[in-house]
Subunit: 337 residues, 2 copies
């Protein structure tokens, strides 16, 4: 029995296909595609099919689970509009049973149509499923390309206080910062350099992927989003974008200075995640953290270390690659139940 789980994000659509034999997981296969839903959501159906067909013929799939965060993109006036459009496109794509991850568990199409917002930004519910396999009492933290989910789990159940993204921005359970797509200007106030402090340009000049390339913490293969200036992803091109954040260029700043600045920016982003993690751990009185996502080592583990928390890694039960797509895997698991 093969179950497909999709996590349809604003920028990336992730797929996990779990092959079950006698209710046991026999094999997990994963893939993902960059699909900017703010501009290209008409391609969704085609991308869903292509992702599956890269792994197996689509008619071998017995059921499809869907979780989403793409309803937030500005192509949709309201999140409700976004959920309804995505559901409609999924229903038009598959003939097998389809389920949708909602705040309170798996939903049918009819349940979603009755209350679309239940399915908005609920993919962390799916990911939390996996974390419970590692600990019944922990804070699960997943830093992806764009955002960081911080989900408290008690007695094997997620117990997040916020249910919508809006609420979770208030509880620390969602920190809108990530490993690739985050505008450096969004979390930097001043940048120290050579004994002085510099304010930054509030433009779309460079993103976190640029600093992690320069610091050798990701590779060009990890840099799956577009660059802000449409140029390439080499370290020199990343350095040039970072310099521009200080209204400078590579005539003005040396390579050593770019690295120094990037290290500082990295630390500021760690602190941004630390603040959310602290808020959740203190509210819930939890001191074990389970980390995953593309930013697991770069950001999550460092934030947990700053707070002196115990750390387990989801990579104890999933491969590193699978960790990055944990919401899709959790979605497939929930669809099986």
């Amino acid at each position: 029995m093969k179950i497909a789980g999709f996590d349809i994000g604003g920028a990336n659509t992730d797929l996990a296909i779990i092959d079950y034999e006698n209710d046991e997981i026999k094999n997990i296969e994963i893939d993902y595609a960059y699909l900017p839903m703010w501009s290209n959501n008409d391609d969704l159906s085609r991308v869903l099919i292509e992702l599956i067909e890269n792994i197996c013929p689509v008619d071998e799939i017995d059921a499809v689970g869907i979780s989403m965060t793409a309803e937030l993109v500005d192509a949709y006036d309201t999140k409700k509009d976004g959920v309804l459009d995505i559901v409609e496109k999924c229903e038009a794509t598959f003939n097998c049973p389809i389920g949708y991850i909602g705040i309170n568990g798996l939903l049918t199409k009819d349940e979603i149509l009755a209350d679309p917002l239940q399915a908005a930004a609920a993919n962390w519910i799916a990911t939390a499923q996996i974390a419970t396999l590692l600990s019944e009492n922990c804070v699960f933290i997943d830093t992806g390309s764009t955002t960081t989910d911080i989900i408290p789990i008690k007695d094997g159940k997620e117990c997040a206080i916020g249910k919508s993204d809006f609420d979770r921005l208030g509880t620390g359970e969602l920190v809108y910062t990530g490993t690739l797509r985050t505008n450096l200007a969004s979390f930097l106030d001043k940048v120290p350099l050579n004994g002085n402090e510099y304010a930054v340009a509030s433009e779309l000049f460079a993103q976190t992927a640029d600093i992690y390339m320069v610091l050798d913490l990701i590779t060009e293969d990890d840099y799956i989003c577009d660059t802000y200036d449409g140029e390439g992803k080499s370290k020199e091109e990343c350095a040039r974008r970072i310099a521009r954040v200080l209204c400078a260029d590579l005539d003005v700043l040396s390579n050593e200075e770019i690295i120094e600045i990037s290290k500082y920016m990295h630390q500021v982003q760690i602190k941004q995640i630390t603040a959310g993690l602290k808020q959740v751990c203190e509210t819930q009185n939890l001191d074990l953290v389970v980390t995953t996502g593309l930013g697991k080592n770069i950001l999550c583990n460092e934030a947990a270390k700053l707070l002196g928390l115990k750390v387990k890694q989801m990579s104890e039960i999933l491969t590193d690659e699978e960790c990055i797509l944990a919401p899709a895997i959790g979605t497939a698991m929930m669809m099986k139940k």
Copy 2:
């Protein structure tokens, strides 16, 4: 004798044509165009001509002065490349004498070719010329659509410590925040609402023009830049974009809540400018501020008030409309000398 002064910015190109009679200013005419130089710099020549022709035939112009900040846009690898490209395009456009505003005064084409960076982001030199007409000892502050220049003037001469944009980000003389195009995520950390505090989404969801529309501080005619989502500029559409910054929408947040949030965001932006103004006033021991630009009332006067500084307005000698285009007017004045 008619002198045209252009200020070629990243997003807007401004023109002032000053008509001199016996060395006295007889008339000033102004115009501007939205020209995103990061994507459309090939249109520069056409836009320069069209702007003039909207006022008078181009062959009536006796000389053209150029100041620029557009060399920073990410279409150019380095600022040097940007300056050279803009100079080449200007030279190909006009047959009359052309001068370029540089850090140390007016430059010829040959002087620029020898040292292009002198002309990078020097438009504030031109604006300072006008401020000296109001006071020999003051801090001149000009908040435009995107940035805020804070220029100290002593004994009738500008005495800024930083000469490049990079240096000026370190001295407080450039605060990269403005009345229209500034991403709200760039200056907001948390937003208080209903007794809670919410983090913000680090996306390109809403800009300062959206909050000033909602607060009735600008009109749709003032909102001359593109919206982030490509939708319209009505107050409701602006409110929808602002809601998205908190991962919310107009189903989630009421109009009163959007106004409350916008008022808070306005105050944070005032404080951002206040910090730069304080740094410059204290460094130079100056306590008179001359304010201008589109953000004169919305931001500059408020920042000066917070610091208890004396305030003069450039509108004592220029009309409100002319104040917004002060760099272009100053550029034309410098070209006359």
